[in-house]
Amino acid sequence: MVIRSLVSVVDDDESVRESLPDLLREFGFAVQAFSSAEEFLASDYVGRTRCLILDIAMPGMTGPDLQRELTLRGQEIPTVFITAHRDETVRPRVLEQGGVECLFKPFSEAALLEALNAALSDPPRSCTLGG
């Protein structure tokens, strides 16, 4: 049995929480969705998550806040940021902070796959893309 890599999706938008996990499962990942950063931190999936797909603008703790918190805890997770604010100044900021990629909603399947590949390639772990 192939152990599927766990991808966690944290987004306050319901559309994303409903649609993205299905596509990621189609890609062959195991997926957990959370509606807030606080919910994710409180869960027991933090240590098992191989890749984090993280919304930037959320009520309460924002995406970048969550990433900083994880770094402080020594639990860094490769992170792909997503946002509906098409603000070109945001992308370099989050990449500098350690994000693997920053995708503007709505993004294509191809862009998502590319970002996931980049997130999971270093360090290499056992995973299978495309199931």
């Binding site: 938008d13 559309s15 994303v16 409903e18 649609s19 993205l20 299905d22 596509l23 189609e26 603008a57 997503i82 509906a84 604010h85 098409r86 603000d87 503007f104 909603k105 709505p106 993004f107 294509s108 399947e109």
Partner: protein, 683 residues
């Protein structure tokens, strides 16, 4: 019998004489001898010639010879010297006596004293001359000098002077004294107006006549040593009479001087009375002329300082009168006859239609008008004028406009500079708020779009699997539809993004509300050179709604129309705003422009948020306007004109009963980006 005849002849009033056919005098009555002081012996023959005034003698003798030759009766006026050297006027009549054969045998004559008549005639002629001078606008001093000379020639042996009271009422000023020495005049003028400084000062002060019959024994005015001064100039009598205005104010004094002691006779008094009357007319006229000139000069200076000219325009005859300053503003030579054509030649070509419209309207109803228009000067510089005119009916019932024209070029230029800065600021503010709004909208729309695309990708993958996961595909497809609705909801919500302030409902007179908006936007429309015609329907029923919101819609339509014509230069920028009854008890308002119009297929897009055909605009005005009208249970629509331009109309129900259940009125809101973001973030 001889004695009886002598007695009769000598008792007759006037002189009686007889002469031989050759003209040699053989009889003169005693009265003649008494008057002339010449004896009968000396006077007979041609001795009587010595009694004729030298200026009259030659003419009289010529005339006498012509009578002798023709044998016809005749009469002649001449002055005869009295024994004391005085001359008086006489009418001399001569009649021939013939025998039965018709031969001339004797001349008989009679002389009648006509001195009083001649004097009255001369005085009347002199007065007439002086009054003509007054009417002809001669200088006051010229008129008063002529008057003095008239009196001096009428009352022989006298010298006349006129002094005036200065404007402060305290000192005497010189006016006229043609025959008095300059040193005497110098010592009179500047004397204070009181009872002590001299007879003229006293007469002016008391407003009554002052008679000094003999200065050698006169005791008044000693404090100012007036008498010694006058005596030093050889004057021994002075009669001074105040000259009063018709209102009774003392203007000055008129004085007669003699070089021997004298008391005025009734003749003198009547002369003085007539003189002071004419003098008062001359002085009053001169003073009111001076006041008028001062006031004219003051007005001209005020016009120059304020760059304001004035005009009058008699509409029926197109007679136009301009003030000097208006000539300067238009840069025409002073006094050039002003015609509408002449004015038109200076008016900026783009403003000519507006001016013609104004003139036509003024001719029609005679109502007051106020306009701003431009002039194009020969050097191609542009002037901005503000004109305001008031229509009046002259006595003959003809319409006449009195108006003022101010050159507001400097103010306009600085306003334009300010306006540019302001519109830049407004643009920045608009772009900023629009930017914020756009980002917010994009965020809200991108969320469901993201879901749609992701679901579609998943759906495709499920269908492509072997075997296809049809149930999963169906579920994701349903989610796609739901996300599509979400995106649509965002747009709907956006359109409802208005302030939470509840609208007020009241009875609104749409015509009144429209007039207020026109008044508010008048200068803006003028600045944009828009010709506005308001056709506000009579007897328009009131509507119920929010007056301010309706006015915002009207203003929005007006400014849109004006903006739509900003590039129009080949035709008048005609804007019509019309109110009328509409079907179904509704009231309709239409704003029609002559701008570029729009394509028929865009008629609905015009009202979408953010749709605009204007480079500078953001187009949210129309969508908000439509929301406001719809909340009034009305309809807002656009239609292209037959000619250039478009018409925007709204139609709303009349009266309160139609508005019942209009609870949605409370939902009328005005756009605010900050509110928008808040609503979207907390759906």
């Amino acid at each position: 019998m001889e004695n009886e005849f002598s007695r009769v002849v000598n008792a007759l009033p006037g002189f009686v004489w007889s002469a031989a056919p050759d003209g040699s005098v053989d009889f003169l009555n005693q009265r003649w001898c008494d008057y002339t002081g010449v004896s009968l012996e000396d006077a007979c023959g041609s001795g009587w010639h010595t009694a004729i005034h030298p200026d009259d003698a030659a003419q009289l003798l010529d005339y006498w010879r012509s009578l002798l030759e023709s044998g016809q009766p005749g009469e002649f006026e001449a002055r005869l010297r009295r024994f004391d050297g005085m001359f008086r006027w006489f009418l001399i009549r001569a009649v021939p006596l013939r025998d039965e054969a018709g031969h001339l045998v004797k001349w008989y004559g009679q002389n009648t004293d006509i001195e009083d008549r001649k004097r009255a005639e001369a005085l009347l002629a002199g007065e007439k001359r002086c009054l003509e001078m007054v009417a002809g606008g001669h200088s006051m001093s010229g008129i008063l000098e002529a008057l003095c000379q008239l009196v001096e020639s009428t009352a022989s042996g006298c010298y006349c002077s006129v002094v005036l009271v200065d404007p402060s009422g305290t000192r005497l000023e010189h006016a006229a004294a043609p025959s008095l020495p300059a040193s005497f005049i110098t010592s009179i003028i500047g004397r204070p107006v009181n009872v002590d400084s001299g007879p003229c000062a006293m007469a002016s002060y008391l407003n009554e006549q002052v008679i000094a019959a003999d200065l050698t024994s006169e005791t008044r005015w000693a404090a100012y040593e007036w008498c010694p001064m006058a005596l030093a100039h050889g004057l021994k009598a002075c009669w001074s009479t105040p000259i009063s205005s018709t209102a009774g104010k003392v203007l000055g004094a008129f004085a007669l001087y003699y070089d021997e002691p004298r008391t005025p006779t009734p003749l003198h008094q009547s002369l003085i009375e007539q003189f002071t009357h004419i003098a008062s007319i001359a002085v009053e006229r001169a003073q009111s002329d001076a006041a008028l000139k001062r006031s004219e000069a003051f007005l001209a200076e005020a016009q120059r300082l304020s760059s304001t000219g004035s005009f009058s325009w008699r509409v029926a005859t197109d007679e136009i009168t301009w003030s000097e300053q208006l000539y300067r503003i238009f840069e025409f030579d002073q006094g050039v006859p002003v015609t509408l054509e002449l004015i038109g030649s200076r008016v900026h070509p783009e403003d000519v239609p507006m001016l013609s419209e104004m003139i036509d309207r003024a001719r029609g109803d005679g109502s007051d008008f106020e306009y701003e228009h431009r002039l194009q000067m020969p050097d191609h510089s542009v002037k901005y004028l503000h004109m305001i005119a008031h229509g009046t009916r002259a006595q003959d019932g003809q319409l006449e406009y009195i108006g003022a024209v101010q050159d507001v070029t400097e103010r306009r230029l600085s306003e334009e500079a300010l306006g540019n800065v302001r519109s830049e600021l407004a643009h920045v503010a608009r772009v900023t708020s629009l930017g914020a709004l756009t980002a917010s909208i994009a965020h809200e729309v991108n969320q469901p779009l993201s879901g749609i695309i992701t679901n579609a990708s998943t759906c495709l993958r499920m269908l492509a699997a072997d075997p296809p996961n049809v149930d999963g595909a169906r579920e994701t497809a349903q989610r796609t539809i739901r996300d599509g609705h979400r995106a649509s909801d965002v747009i709907t919500r956006l359109r409802a993004l208005f302030s939470k302030k509840d609208a007020t409902t009241e009875s609104v007179n749409l015509n009144e509300a429209t007039r207020e908006v026109i008044a508010l936007s008048w200068s803006e429309l003028q600045r944009s050179r828009v010709i506005l015609r308001a056709e506000l329907g009579d007897d328009l029923p009131p509507v119920t709604g929010d007056r301010v919101q309706l006015q915002q819609v009207i203003l929005n339509l007006l400014l849109n129309a004006s903006e739509a014509m900003s590039g129009v230069d080949d035709r008048p920028r005609q804007l019509v705003i019309r109110t009328e009854r509409d079907e179904g008890g509704r009231v309709r308002l239409t704003v029609q422009d002559a701008g570029g119009g729009f394509e028929p297929q865009d008629a609905d897009k015009l009202f979408e948020p953010f749709y605009t055909t204007k480079s500078g605009g953001m187009g949210i005005g129309l969508s908000v306007s439509r929301s406001i009208i719809e909340s009034h249970h009305g309809r807002l629509w656009a239609a292209p004109n037959d000619g250039p331009g478009a018409a925007f109309s709204f139609s709303i129900p009349r009266g309160l009963e139609d508005m019942m259940g209009a609870h949605s009125l409370g939902a009328i809101r005005t756009p605010a980006a900050t509110e928008a973001e808040q609503v979207m973030r907390n759906p």
